[in-house]
C-alpha cells in the first residue's frame, strides 16, 4: 500500500553514478526533487544518461554516492532483496516496448506483478478489471497472450500493471516512439488522466520535445545532470550545499 507521507515522491542529492569506478560519471545530479502528485516531463536526447537515470530511479542500479530517496525511503540503504521488493510495491515502470512477458496472458502479466508486490488477494483482480476498462482493454483480451496484442494495447496493459500496486511513482520511458500521431495523443491523455485518478507521481522520460505540451512541468535532463563538470565546479557546489 502507498504510504502517506509529506516526503517528496523523488529526491536526489549529489547523486553520482559511473559504470566503472575509474570512468567519469554518467550521472551527476546535485539536486532534483519531484513533489508528490506531480507529473514531470524529463526531456533528454539519447546518450545523455536517460536509461541509466531510470535504472537508478527504479532501483535496478545503485548510486555510487549521494542520496536517492523515493517517498522518503533511501534506496541505497536497502538490501538487494529489499530493493526488489520496494520496486514491486512502490515503483511502476512502463518502457517503450517489451513491457510484458510475451507468453503469459494479459491478466497473468498483471497478476504476476501484483504478486511480486504482495498483493495477490481477490480484490486485486477487481481493481485490475477496473483499470483495464479505464484504458479500454476489453474483457476478451484478458486471456490472450500478451504477444498477440498490438504495441499500443501492450503499453496500456503495462500502465495497468504499473499502477496496480498503487505505486508512489510511475516511471515511463519513451512511451510514444512506437506510436503514430493519433495513438500518441490518445495514449498521453489516457496516461495523464489515470495517473491523476490514482494520485501517483509521474516522471516521463523522452527525447520528443512535442510531448511537453501535455505537461505543466518540463525539465531538461542536461539542466539537472552535469556529468562533465570540472572538479572546481564540483567543489564549489559541494561547499554551497
Amino acid at each position: 500500500m502507498t504510504e502517506i507521507s509529506d516526503q517528496p515522491a523523488l529526491l536526489l542529492k549529489n547523486v553520482r553514478y559511473s559504470y566503472q569506478p575509474e570512468h567519469a560519471p554518467v550521472i551527476d545530479i546535485p539536486l532534483w526533487e519531484v513533489p508528490t502528485g506531480t507529473s514531470i516531463f524529463l526531456r533528454g536526447a539519447s546518450g545523455t544518461g536517460k536509461s541509466t537515470l531510470l535504472n537508478l530511479l527504479s532501483g535496478m542500479l545503485v548510486t555510487n554516492e549521494g542520496n536517492l530517496s523515493i517517498a522518503g525511503i533511501e534506496l541505497s540503504q536497502l538490501s538487494a532483496r529489499q530493493r526488489d521488493r520496494f520496486r514491486a510495491q512502490h515503483i511502476g515502470v512502463v518502457f517503450q516496448q517489451f513491457n510484458l512477458i510475451p507468453y503469459l496472458s494479459v491478466m497473468d502479466n498483471v497478476l504476476l506483478a501484483a504478486q511480486f508486490g504482495s498483493r495477490g488477494s481477490n480484490d486485486i483482480r477487481a481493481k485490475a478489471e477496473a483499470l483495464f476498462s479505464q484504458v479500454n482493454i476489453h474483457k476478451d483480451l484478458y486471456g490472450q497472450q500478451a504477444q498477440s496484442l498490438s504495441i499500443g494495447q501492450q503499453q496500456r496493459v503495462a500502465i495497468v500493471r504499473a499502477l496496480l500496486n498503487s505505486p508512489d511513482i510511475l516511471l515511463v520511458d519513451e512511451p510514444t516512439s512506437a506510436l503514430d500521431e493519433a495513438n500518441r495523443d490518445a495514449f498521453m491523455s489516457l496516461l495523464l488522466k489515470i495517473v491523476k485518478e490514482e494520485k501517483a507521481s509521474l516522471v516521463l522520460v523522452s527525447h520528443d520535445t512535442t510531448l511537453s505540451r501535455y505537461f505543466e512541468t518540463t525539465i531538461e535532463l542536461s539542466a539537472i545532470n552535469c556529468p562533465h563538470s570540472s572538479p572546481q565546479e564540483q567543489a564549489a557546489r559541494e561547499g554551497r550545499l
Binding site: 559504470y19 538487494a80 520496486r87 517503450q96 517489451f98 512477458i101 507468453y103 497478476l111 504482495s118
Partner: protein, 421 residues
C-alpha cells in the same frame, strides 16, 4: 510473494513459448532415459531368467572338468562334454543314501540343429525351472517305447511337428550332419509347454533310444551291414555303458555340500559335482564386463543429453533478455530468475521421464512379440524397480546440476544492468 501456482504457470508457459527447442530437448533426454531404463531392465530380466533356467536340482555331476563347462553343456546345451561318466558311477550316484532322484543326461545327437537329450522319465517328473515350476505337456506324454521322442516347445513350433509324426535323428551336433540315424525313425509322442529356457530347444528320447540308434556304430561311424533290426533289441539289452551328466535331487538340502564332496572325491572315476545356483552366478559374473560397458554407454548418452539441455537453456537466454528485464522491473529478484530456469529444466526432465516410461511400455509390448516368437521368452513390465527409480532420481539431480549453468548466467545478468534498453 509469488504463489507456487503462478510460479509453475510462468515456467510452463515459458516452455510452451519455445515449443520446438523444448520438444527436441525432451525427446533427446527421453531417448537416453529409455536407453538407460531399457538396458537396466534387460540386464535384470536376463539375470533373472538366467538364474531361473534350472531350479530344484541340487547337484549336477559329470566327468572331471570345468564347472562352468559342465553347467553349459548340461543345462544350456552349449559346447560338449570332454568325457563321459560310466554307467556304474551313475548307479552309485542313484543309489546314494541321500539322493532322492536323478536325471541322467546323454548328449551328442541332434535334429535339424536342435540337441537331442537322452534321459529318463525322471526328467519330466523332477526337472524344474523358474520358481520351482515343473514341466508340463501341451500334448501327448512321456516316451513309453524305445523309439519315442518328446519335443521341446520351440522345436515343435519351428519345425512344425505334430504328434505321431516321424523324424530321423542325426549323429553329432552339427546342423548339416551326413551321418543320419535314418534306419531308426522316431515317433513324436509328446510336446512340452514353453518354458522360456533351453528346455524348449531340445528333443528328448529315452536312454534306450540313444543306445538303439548307436547299435552297430563304431567311433561315430555306421558300420555297413551291422545294423540290427529293432525287433531283435530287447529293452533290457539297451543299457548304456556311459552317460554325459546327471542331475541330482537330494533328500535333504543339508547334505548338499557333503554329497558334493563325496562325488568330487569319488575314487573309481574322477567326477565334478557342482551346485547349479552357485555356478550360474559365477557364469553371470563372467559377463559383468559386457554388462558394465552397456551401463557405462547409457550413462554417457544420458550425460550428453543433459548437457544438451543445459546448452539449449543457455542459448535461450539471449532471446529472453527482454523477458528477464520485465521480470526484474516488476520486482522479481535474481533468485526468482534462477529458480525459474531450474523449474524449466525440471519440467523438461520430468516430461522426458514420463515420456520414456510410456515408451518403455510400448517397447516391451513390441519387443515381447518378437522375443516370444524367437526365444519363447518375454520381458516383464516391472521395469520401475527400486534400482530404476534410483536411476531416475540421479537423472533429476543431474538435470538440476547442469541447469546451474544457464541458471547462474540468468542470475548474474539480472544482477547487472538489467534495464539497459
Amino acid at each position: 510473494m509469488i504463489k507456487p501456482t503462478m510460479f509453475w504457470r510462468v515456467a510452463r508457459k515459458s516452455l510452451m513459448h519455445r515449443k520446438t527447442s523444448v520438444l527436441l530437448s525432451i525427446l533427446s533426454i527421453c531417448v537416453s532415459i529409455t536407453v538407460l531404463l531399457g538396458v537396466e531392465h534387460i540386464r535384470l530380466e536376463a539375470k533373472n531368467s538366467f538364474s531361473k533356467t534350472v531350479s530344484g536340482v541340487d547337484l549336477i555331476i559329470g566327468a572331471r572338468g570345468g564347472e562352468i563347462n559342465l553347467l553349459l553343456y548340461s543345462v544350456f546345451r552349449i559346447g560338449n562334454a570332454t568325457n563321459n561318466l560310466s554307467w556304474a558311477s551313475y548307479q552309485t550316484i542313484n543309489n546314494h543314501k541321500n539322493v532322492a532322484w536323478t536325471i541322467p543326461l546323454s548328449l551328442g545327437d541332434s535334429h535339424q540343429g536342435y540337441r537331442v537329450v537322452g534321459t529318463s522319465d525322471g526328467f519330466f517328473k523332477h526337472f524344474q525351472y523358474g520358481n520351482k515350476q515343473g514341466l508340463n505337456f501341451q500334448s501327448g506324454g512321456s516316451f513309453a517305447d524305445v523309439l519315442d521322442v518328446v519335443l521341446g516347445a520351440e522345436v515343435a513350433e519351428s519345425l512344425g511337428y505334430k504328434l505321431d509324426e516321424q523324424l530321423v535323428l542325426a549323429h553329432g551336433i552339427s546342423k548339416q550332419s551326413f551321418s543320419l540315424h535314418d534306419d531308426m525313425p522316431f515317433r513324436v509322442v509328446g510336446i512340452l509347454e514353453p518354458t522360456g529356457t533351453p528346455v524348449d530347444q531340445a528333443l528328448y528320447v529315452s536312454l534306450a533310444g540313444i543306445e538303439a540308434i548307436h547299435v552297430g556304430w563304431q567311433n561315430g561311424v555306421k558300420m555297413p551291414g551291422k545294423s540290427v533290426p529293432l525287433s531283435s533289441l530287447a529293452k533290457g539289452g539297451l543299457t548304456p555303458k556311459s552317460i554325459t551328466a546327471v542331475m541330482v535331487g537330494l533328500r535333504s538340502k543339508m547334505a548338499t555340500f557333503q554329497v558334493q564332496r563325496t562325488f568330487n572325491q569319488f575314487k573309481p572315476e574322477p567326477l565334478t559335482a557342482i551346485l547349479p545356483g552357485v555356478t550360474l552366478s559365477q557364469l553371470w559374473q563372467t559377463m559383468g564386463v559386457l554388462e558394465n560397458t552397456l551401463r557405462l554407454v547409457s550413462f554417457l548418452v544420458l550425460i550428453a543429453s543433459l548437457l544438451g539441455l543445459s546448452a539449449m537453456l543457455l542459448a535461450s537466454m539471449r532471446e529472453r533478455t527482454n523477458e528477464l528485464r520485465v521480470l526484474r522491473t516488476i520486482g522479481a529478484n535474481p533468485i526468482f530468475i534462477f529458480g525459474l530456469i531450474q523449474a524449466e529444466a525440471l519440467l523438461i526432465t520430468l516430461s522426458a521421464i514420463m515420456l520414456s516410461i510410456i515408451s518403455m511400455f510400448g517397447l516391451i509390448t513390441w519387443g515381447n512379440t518378437i522375443l516370444g516368437e524367437t526365444f519363447s521368452m518375454t520381458l516383464g513390465f516391472n521395469f520401475l524397480r527400486a534400482e530404476s527409480c534410483e536411476l531416475l532420481g540421479y537423472v533429476i539431480v543431474g538435470a538440476v546440476l547442469v541447469s546451474f549453468v544457464p541458471g547462474l548466467s540468468a542470475y548474474r545478468s539480472s544482477l547487472g544492468k538489467a534495464g539497459s534498453a
